[in-house]
Amino acid sequence: MDTKTLIKDAKARFSHNSAKAYLKEKFNSKLIIAEQGGLWRADAQTIALLSSLSNQFTETTVLIDTFDNPVEVEIASLLESLTTLYNNVMTEWYAEWQELENKR
């Protein structure tokens, strides 16, 4: 039996909350990257901090990574990696969210 028939026969309702939770779980893990000797999450906070520091005419800084270790990083290079990763993952997340949002 194919899954469409299964859903129809069971009179199952699409759970948007579960879809949202699944997408969050899936894409949050994709936002993690190991670089320059630390482990980073490409989130808004880290990107904003790096972006702000990159305007201070400093090349390096020390950040606390997701393992709570202080790591000296080269700002421009890390900012580029995290921004690229963020954009790619969020675009993918948005596309799949739109796909699931139309389900009933």
């Binding site: 194919d2 899954t3 299964l6 859903i7 069971a10 009179k11 199952a12 309702r13 699409f14 759970s15 579960s18 879809a19 939770a21 699944y22 779980e25 899936k26 949050n28 893990s29 994709k30 993690i32 190991a34 482990l39 999450r41 997701t66 393992f67 709570d68 799949e96 699931l100 389900k103």
Partner: protein, 282 residues
């Protein structure tokens, strides 16, 4: 006794599979190995016994035959899950992923684990598909949050060796630790043994880099998973399905409502072997 077909490779997957009277674990291991090859581009070594090895149809990179410890009974059946500590000695790889055979790989995400630690990492948190409020598992109310032996990454190192030696020690003294930590000791669980082993090696402190920084996704109770298509292996090549429909029995005020969602390209672990066989065989 080890039968090695290819030269030692730096990275690879190790799976333990011993057939029982109820389930064909070797078949599950083959399903897992095919996906490890396709999504992670890693070779797989199977650790099994003589009898189970005769049922192998997949071309594993290595087949390691061991004498299984059948001294574990669950639901009146022999459950061969002891001996996971041997992974360190038996793995032909410098960097190894030890996977439960019922872990369904749908992405290359696990490759990231090799970047997270110089020695060892495993999951310390879980998420139940369609049941996000499910609590984390504890060994007991007086003990630790359980770690999970479903996915273990280790690199040959003194520290990883110590962890697996501690795992052996905990396995050999499981009832003693069950007594101390107030959990049921009758059935051996690798998850609990690993939790205790890692705590011992770390001097009962937390080392964040030992934990994979995302949740282990489980398919829990009242939840069914159906593959949207079967994997195809033919002369044209291999085509792996990564889309699944998840159905959940949502109970509220003594009434049950079926809910579903759809997932794709996401790794998950199925504890229910009947469900796993359903996905595997359609």
């Amino acid at each position: 006794m080890a039968r090695t077909r290819k030269q030692e490779i730096d990275r690879g997957v190790v799976v333990f599979a011993f057939n029982s009277s109820k389930y064909n674990y070797v078949e599950m291991a083959e399903y897992c190995a095919r996906r490890a090859k396709a999504f992670l581009d890693l070779p797989t070594t199977i650790v099994t016994d003589e009898e189970s090895a005769e049922t192998i149809t997949y071309d594993f990179d290595n087949v390691v035959i061991v004498e299984p410890d059948k001294n574990n009974i669950r639901e009146h059946q022999v459950w061969i899950n002891k001996g996971r500590y041997q992974a360190y000695e038996l793995s032909p790889y410098e960097e190894t992923l030890v996977l439960d055979v019922d872990y369904i790989i749908n992405s290359d995400k696990l490759l990231k684990t090799f970047d997270f630690s110089d020695s060892f990492c495993c999951h310390n948190r879980t998420e139940m598909l369609m049941y996000p409020e499910a609590p984390q598992e504890y060994l007991s109310s007086y003990s630790y949050n359980s770690l999970w032996a479903t996915v273990i990454m280790f690199k040959k190192s003194e520290r990883a060796k110590q962890i697996f030696e501690a795992l052996e020690m905990v396995q050999n003294n499981y009832d003693h630790y069950a007594n101390i930590h107030s959990f049921v000791g009758g059935i051996f669980r690798n998850d609990y043994a690993l939790t205790l082993a890692l705590k011992i090696v770390n001097g009962h402190s937390e080392v964040l880099s030992d934990y994979i920084p995302w949740n282990l996704v489980h398919v829990g109770k009242n939840t069914s998973v159906y593959a949207d298509a079967l994997d195809v292996f033919d002369c044209k090549g291999e085509d792996f399905n990564t889309k699944f429909t998840v159905m959940f029995d949502h109970w509220k005020n003594s009434k049950m409502r079926k809910e579903y969602t759809m997932i794709k390209d996401m790794d998950f672990h199925i504890m229910n072997k009947d469900l796993f066989e359903g996905i595997m065989n359609g």
